[in-house]
């Protein structure tokens, strides 16, 4: 490790921390204030409501909210599927791409509507500019707006007492998109263009290499897709190699800004939560718990990658830090980012559920692979995607107060709400959907030829490739471990199922809990109330996240990255 590397990590954490309060306050105004926070966009907001026939003053109960969300995303899937199947007839297709195959089109449609962005395709060799812009980019905006909407609905459920409604889905979607996502996306896209990211409708260009060979260089409307790919917790890049491509992430500065774009909205939503429940400390406790888990992950990955690969030592490959190199395990990493920039990016992108990559995860050391998977297995509780990270950590908070209530023999309370059997059962439905889908689908893929025959490696590393794929899909992350040929009907359909379960089988119970909590009468704090704005509760919350995640996944992790780590340490490679 180097002091420069630690400095980068500290600067990233400090910048994120500095942005939490102002952005959190702004988002609280967006989702609670009656007036438009950005006045020039007010007429557009009202015009959209008139066009859609929505009365913004009318709120919905949880079931109506959930059904509106489901209907909206069903339409999104159908549109994105149709765009891909018809792209040969649609404009802005300078490379002349034909229709995407049905199973791949379904996988991609589900992927972007569920905020996952698992990509079984290479963007620059599969999709036209028209589909990238009107399909992929649009769904990236809408899927994250819907995640933020669900989180706001849950926060309202916690903050309100004796009501029957949790907000209006259409208003939350519109406000999140217009006032939060679009302004940040426009500013960030201009920044990326300044740094060298292309934004053009011109076709690919042909260049001559020094050897005289012809090279086709793909271009396109990259910057506009790149920003929402990062902000959305989506991660679906314009190019196949994602943020490792110099046209998606050209400099060390863009690498830092891209990580901030991935993290900052999710982190700031904890502050929005604190403001909406009338106690800012509640938000800081959630953020503190998330930050502690994140810090542990980044330290392990950075240390493991900086240490290098022990199997290179007998080959006399120099992995030491020196004047000419940063040292460490540089396989699959970009020289312009180095070990620290890559390790931090990988931790940010898996903890946040974004799934962008600036280095090839298959080449990380097994211990790093363990942490990357664990980051996703805790169900977005470490910052997570905007919105889904907040509702996930709130689910764990409900479980934590329930466990604490059992320990002291009292009815658990959270923010003045008594937590009854209904909320705990429905919360567990949400939290168990993810491990159930990951473990069952990985087990099936590990034993059927359609699954294991597509692996690039054997042994525990091959198992990790399968486990990572289903973890990434179910946790709506979307990053790929590589080494798995996933564009087959088997993987396209089973991964689509994983993404569907990971998104909607979680969101529906979350909204049900929100609806149930909204009806509760306020219970004043008493001597038996567990304080949830304390360091003690942050510790309890971390323990709950790790135990729920650890108990469910430890056997699978032991078969994959942990077994590989011990074998790899003594020279066994797969």
């Amino acid at each position: 490790v180097t002091s420069q590397g630690w400095l980068l990590i500290i600067i990233f954490a400090a910048l994120t921390g500095l942005l939490v309060k102002p952005l959190g306050g702004y988002m609280a105004a967006v989702f609670t204030g009656p007036a438009a926070p950005l006045r020039p966009l007010g007429p557009l907001e009202r015009g959209l409501y008139r066009l859609a026939g929505v009365d913004p003053a009318v709120e919905q109960g949880w079931l109506a909210y959930a059904l509106a969300l489901l209907a909206f995303h069903l339409a999104g899937i159908l549109v994105l599927y149709a765009l891909q199947r018809l792209q040969g007839f649609l404009p802005l297709n300078p490379s002349g791409f034909d229709a995407v195959s049905p199973d791949l089109a379904l996988n991609t449609a589900v992927s972007f509507v569920t905020n996952t962005s698992w990509q079984s395709y290479g963007g620059e060799t599969t999709l036209s500019y028209f589909v990238q812009m009107t399909g992929i980019t649009v769904q990236s905006f809408l899927s994250v707006a819907s995640g933020i909407a669900v989180a706001m609905a849950l926060v309202r459920g916690l903050a309100r007492h004796g009501g029957a409604t949790i907000g209006n889905f259409w208003v939350d979607m519109t406000r999140g998109t217009l006032y939060v996502l679009l302004p940040i996306a426009i500013i960030a896209a201009v920044f990326l263009i300044w740094q060298g990211v292309p934004q053009t409708l011109g076709g690919a260009v042909e260049a001559s290499t020094l050897d005289g060979a012809k090279q086709v260089i793909s271009l396109g409307p990259v910057a506009s897709q790149e920003v929402i790919k990062l902000m959305s917790g989506d991660g679906g890049g314009f190019f196949n190699v994602n943020s490792a491509h110099p046209f998606e992430n050209p400099t060390a500065l863009t690498n830092l800004v891209e990580m901030l774009l991935i993290f900052v909205i999710g982190a700031a939503l904890t502050n929005t939560f604190g403001r909406m429940v009338g106690d800012a400390r509640q938000g800081w406790v959630l953020l503190g718990a998330m930050a502690a888990m994140f810090a542990a992950g980044v330290v392990v990955i950075y240390a493991a990658e900086a240490r290098g690969n022990p199997n290179f030592v007998p080959l006399h490959i120099d992995q030491a830090v020196g004047g000419a190199q940063g040292g460490g395990n540089m396989e699959g990493k970009e020289v312009r980012f180095g070990i620290a920039g890559s390790s931090l990016f990988a931790t940010v992108a898996t903890a946040s559920s974004d799934g962008a990559v600036d280095a090839m995860l298959d080449s990380y050391n097994p211990l790093s692979g363990f942490v990357l998977m664990a980051n996703m297995m805790v169900d977005e509780a470490i910052i997570g995607a905007p919105g889904s990270g907040l509702f996930s950590i709130l689910l764990f908070a409900i479980v934590a107060v329930f466990v604490a209530g059992l320990m002291v023999g009292r009815t658990p309370e959270y923010l003045g709400n008594k937590i009854h059997a209904a909320e705990v059962k429905i919360t567990m439905l949400a939290l168990l959907a993810v491990p159930a889908a990951i473990l069952a689908l990985t087990a099936i893929a590990a034993v059927v030829p359609a699954g294991f025959s597509e692996l690039g490696n054997n042994g525990p590393h091959g198992f990790s490739e399968l486990l990572y794929a289903y973890t990434s899909a179910t946790a709506t992350n979307g990053s790929a471990f590589a080494g798995l040929s996933a564009n087959t009907p088997f993987f396209n359909l089973t991964l689509a199922l994983a993404m569907f379960i990971g998104r909607f089988m979680v969101i529906i119970p979350v909204l049900a809990v929100a609806g149930s909590l909204a009806t509760k009468r306020l219970v004043p704090a008493s001597a038996g109330t567990l304080p949830t704005d304390s360091l003690q509760f942050a510790g309890l919350l971390i323990g709950t996240v790790l135990i729920v995640g650890g108990l469910a996944f430890f056997p699978a992790l032991a078969l994959g990255p942990l077994a590989e780590h011990f074998a790899w340490s003594v020279g066994a490679l797969y």
Binding site: L63, L70, L74, Y81, R85, P102, A422, I508
Partner: protein, 40 residues
């Protein structure tokens, strides 16, 4: 074309399942919220 119909049928089936799941959550909530379910 046949594969398109199969894919769309899968999507519709998934959404029907999701809507039914939402209904099941609603029933579970109402059952559990009855006073006798909470020992009241």
């Amino acid at each position: 074309m046949i594969l398109d119909i199969v894919m769309l049928a899968l999507v519709v089936a998934a959404w029907v399942g999701a809507a039914a799941y939402a209904g099941a959550c609603d029933r579970l909530m109402h059952t559990e919220q009855r006073p006798e379910a909470n020992g009241q």
